[in-house]
Each structure stands twice: as C-alpha cells, then as structure tokens.
C-alpha cells in the first residue's frame, strides 16, 4: 500500500485534531504527499519522528514552491431545460485558486529503511502572511535549508534559531526564486545579439 495512506491513517489515530490531507500526484511516478496545516506542522513532525512505528528520523530535503494566483477551468455537466426538454450541457466553471508559498519536506526513516514521505505545508498568501513554523527543533538538518528557502522564496520560519539569508547578501531585498522576480537589467552586450538584446536595441 502507498506509504502516504498508512502514515495518514496513523496520524489520524494518534492526532485526531490535526488537519492533514492527501495530495494526489497524477503522474506515473505517483508520489503522493501529505498536506499539513501550519498550526499542526510541529506536532505532526514530532509524531512522525518519535512514533516507533513510523520513525522518520531523517529530513533529506526541504524546498520551496511558489504558487501564483491561478484560475482552473473545470468542465461540469449540467442539466438545462431547452425547448421544453432536459438536455445535458457542458459548462465551463472557472475556479480561482489563490497563490501561496509551499514548503516541501522529504522524510526518510533510516531505521525502517522507508521513504521518502513527502510532507507539504502552505502559507496563507504570497505577500504578508508568509510565516510557517520552523522544524529545526525536530530535524537539525532543516536549519540551513530553511535559511535557503527564506532567502530565495521569502518564507519566514518562526522559531528558527538564526534566520538570515544563506546565498544572497544581507542587503539584498528580493527573493530570486519567486516567479514574479525581475532580475537586474545588466545585460548590455552579446557577441551574437538575439532576442531580448535586439529588442533593447530597437527601443534605444
């Protein structure tokens, strides 16, 4: 059985109040993951590490994803009355999904030789409510990776012992891995100009 199913069942037994749901990966790899609400993240992480049946003692990877605001078009079949008859009509419904920043954890259990278990958690939005609980107290290897996610995506990890930028300099004021990042315009010469350089030449 899929690992995420058994782990989810175990979490539901032990922490009934925790809001955890399964995110289905539709691709052939089928790496399904668990989406945890930020308020329950610390408790769920502790449980995953300390539970003798699970024992996820190794945080292999911690990374970020930037989700922009997006609209998803769903085709829905509806029954309409046309010319006195009921007919089935395809109606396209647009669904607005607000953007957020997501943090993804890849957990392994070295004692049980199991993994990866993929854990996700999402911020409320992309602009001002970007805080998530830090997992440094659970897995020490989260420290630098959380600093990197803070640097490149702007997720603020509450409870991190030393939350500074890791790769960019301290004076830098943006998050380069965000999808709306605009890189500095220092692109002046190409030996074989093409694309954006030619557009710039046309403007000047």
């Amino acid at each position: 059985m899929d690992e995420s199913v058994t782990v989810l069942k175990r979490i539901e037994e032990a922490l009934p109040e925790a809001a955890v749901s399964r995110v289905i990966n539709p691709s052939p790899s089928g790496q399904h993951s668990l989406l945890v609400e930020p308020k329950d993240l610390l408790a769920v992480a502790r449980f995953l590490r300390d539970d003798p049946q699970l024992g996820y003692d190794f945080l292999s990877n911690l990374t970020g994803v930037d989700w922009l605001d997006r609209t998803v078009k769903n085709k829905v079949k509806k029954i309409e009355i046309r010319e006195g008859e009921e007919t089935e009509v395809d109606v396209v419904e647009e669904q607005q999904i607000p953007g957020c920043l997501e943090v993804v954890f890849h957990l392994y259990s070295l004692s049980r030789k199991q993994g990866p278990l993929i854990l996700r958690t999402r911020t409320v939005n992309r602009t001002d409510r970007v805080a998530l609980p830090s997992l440094v107290s659970v897995w020490r290897s989260a420290e630098f990776q959380e600093r990197e996610v803070y640097d490149l995506y702007g997720v603020v990890f509450e409870g991190h012992p030393d939350l500074r930028r890791l790769l960019m300099w301290d004076e830098f004021e943006d998050h380069p891995m965000r999808k709306d990042y605009i890189e500095p315009d220092d692109y002046e010469y190409e030996p074989t100009p093409h694309g954006r350089v030619l557009e710039k030449l046309d403007r000047s």
Partner: protein, 204 residues
C-alpha cells in the same frame, strides 16, 4: 648592438643584454600565482600545477596563499556577485606589477549562469584582465597556453616611453574600486574604466 655582434660575442663567452631584456626575462620566469579557486576550474588549475602538466617549468609553481606575495591572479571559476567584492579586494592587495588571467567561461562572461541572478557576467567588469581562456573548464594545456601568452606579453613590455605598462605609470591606477552590495545588484554594476563592451548593432 646588432644581432650579429650579439651572437659573435656570445660565442666568445661574452653575454650582452639590455636592461629591459633582463628585467622582463627575470619577471616572466617568476610569476607567482595567488592560491585561490572559485569553482571547478580550480581543479584544472590544481592539475596544471601538479607533476603531469607541471606549471613549475614556467617558474610559476609557487602558489602564494597571501596576495601580498603574488603577481598573478588566476580567476578560476564562477564569480558570484557575493564573491566579486572579495575578488577585487584581493586584487587590490597584490603588489604591482600584477596580472589577471580569467579562466573559463564563467570568469570571462558568466558562462552558463549568465542569465542568472547571482553570477557576475565576467570579472573584466571590475578588473583589467590580461588573458582570457574560454572553456568549461579549460584543459590544463589551455591554462599553460594562457600562461605562455602572459609571458610573451611581459616580454614585450617597455621600461620607458609611452607604451610602458600600467605599473610604471604613476598616474595609472593600482587599485580598483570595490563594488558594494546593493538592494538589487552590485553597485556599481561595472567599472567603466576597465569595461567597455562593443556596441551591438542590428545588422551584425
């Protein structure tokens, strides 16, 4: 003195030279590089200094750990924007006469990271580069070729006159401004005194 007289005297055990000739001969055969590497090009630089390629044949085996004792800066690898001020600072600490070899695609142009947000698009924006080596990374033979090119350049230097090199001209700069970390990019992003890119044209 003609070439013929020079040869004739040498047959009789009398060696004649010019001050310029012996000065350049001495300096080109004892160029001491600064011992630092920035990325994978440094591995090739290390290989060049080892027995198989043997940079010692050119009098350059003494990699100095201190910039105060070095004549040559081999910029071997990717210069990130965070590292660029330190590279310029190291160059400023070297005594004159000093030379720069930009080794590899990253050091000469930013290489595969040119369109990225955190890599300098060539160290020649801040430092006067004497020899550029393309390659990713260049083979040790390419570094040896660059080194021999530098030796020929030193051999051609004049002690007097208008063509004398930078370190013999009092008004020429010995230090170059260190870029500062800005909110978006390095400030200034380039040193106009050393970096003058050709103008791109549409027809080219």
């Amino acid at each position: 003195m003609t070439e013929g007289l020079h040869g004739e005297l040498q047959k009789h055990g009398v060696f004649t030279t010019t001050l310029e000739g012996i000065h350049n001969w001495g300096r080109r055969n004892s160029v001491w590089p600064l011992q630092f590497g920035l990325a994978c090009c440094a591995i090739e630089m290390i290989a060049t200094s080892m027995a198989r390629y043997d940079l010692a044949r050119f009098g350059a085996e003494v990699f100095r750990p201190s910039p105060r004792q070095a004549d040559l800066m081999i910029v071997a690898g990717t210069v990130t924007k965070k590292m660029a001020p330190q590279v310029v600072r190291l160059y400023n600490q070297m005594p004159e006469p000093k030379y720069v070899i930009a080794m590899g695609a990253c050091a000469i142009s930013g290489g595969p990271f040119k369109q990225g947000y955190n890599v300098l698009k060539g160290i020649d924006r801040f430092l006067p580069v004497d020899v550029h080596i393309p390659g990713c990374p260049p083979r040790p033979e390419a570094l040896l070729h660059a080194f021999m090119t530098l030796q020929r350049q030193i051999d051609r230097q004049k002690l007097t006159g208008d063509e004398r090199p930078r370190h013999l001209r009092a008004e020429a700069p010995s230090e170059y401004p260190v870029p500062q970390f800005g909110k978006k990019d390095l400030t200034p992003g380039k040193n106009a005194a050393v970096w003058s890119p050709p103008v791109s044209t549409r027809s080219g």
